[in-house]
Amino acid sequence: MTLTRDSLLAQIKIILQEQFDIEPDDVNLDSRLREDLDIDSIDAVNLMIELKSLTSKKISLENFHQVKTMSDMLDAVLAFLQQDKA
C-alpha cells in the first residue's frame, strides 16, 4: 500500500481528533505541533502508537524532537516508511 502525503495528512487529522479533540479544520501543513496544536511529549508517544497501527510499522521516536510542524511530521513518517522499504 502506498501512502500519499495527502492521505497521510487526512489520516493524522482523524487521529488528532479522536485522541486529542483537535478540530481537523484547525490543522494544516504549517501548524506547529507544540504551539498551535498543543501536542506535548506524552501526546507524541500516543500519536506514534496510533501511527504504528495505521502504517503497521513501528515508527521510531528518535527524531521526533526535530519535528516542529505538521509538514515536518509528514516528511518524517514518509521518509521512515520509504527507508524501511529499501
Partner: protein, 245 residues
Amino acid sequence: MATGLCFLLFGLGTLLLALLLTPMTFLLPIGRQIKSRFARKMIQLSAWLFVRIMWIMGLLSFEFKGLELLDRQGILIIANHPTLLDAIFLMSVIPNATFVVKAAMARNLVTRWMVSLAGYIPNDEGVGLLERAAATLKAGNKLMIFPEGTRTDDSGMQFKRGAANIALMADCLIVPVLIDCQPMTLRKTSKWYQSPETKPHFYFAVLPDIEIARQIDQNRPSGIQARQLTAIMQTRLADELRQLG
C-alpha cells in the same frame, strides 16, 4: 538587607544539610527506605526552621489551612506556583512526601545528594517522570508537583499536562493546595532583591479533593482525559484564587 541575609542563610543551611546527609548515602548500613525517610525528615525540619527564621526577622507572615488533609497515603498534591518560597513552605508542612523538583536541583553539586537520597524526582524525565511518579503513588507515597512546571509568569497560570497524566496513570486522589502571596514577592519576573514595601503574607489553603472517576469519562482516549483533568485542576485553583480577590 535582611533578604540577602536569608538567601545566604539558605545557601549555608543547604550546604550544611548536604554535608550532613551525603555521608549517610555511603556509610550508614541502613536500608534505602529508612535513609530516604530520614532525609525527608531533615529537609522538613530545615525548611520549617528557615520559614520561622524569616518570620522572626519580620520578612514575612504566613498561614496554613486544612493541613491535616495532606497527611494521607497515595495522594497527588498539586499547587499553583506564585513564588520562589512555595516549595520550601510545602516541604516544611508535608511529612514524608516525594517532591517533583526542578531538574537543576538534581544536577547541582550541593543539592543532588539530597534530591537523590530523599527520592525526589527531577522534572526533566519526560515519559520516565510519569512512570516513576505513578509508581511512587501506587506504592502508597504522597507526591507533590507544581503542574505549571515553573513559577507563574505575567500571562497567568498555565498548567502542563504532566500532573494530570501522573494522576490518571496512578488513578489516585488529587488534593489541590491554593497558594497566595500578598503583596506578591519573589516572582519569576521579579528580581530576588526587589522586596515589596509592605511585608508579604503567604496563604496556603488545602482545597477539597478532586476525584478522577467523578470528574471525567475514563473510557475516552488518555490524551483527552489528560486535557479534561488538566482543565479541571487549573480551573479549581484559578477560581479559588479569584475569589480571594
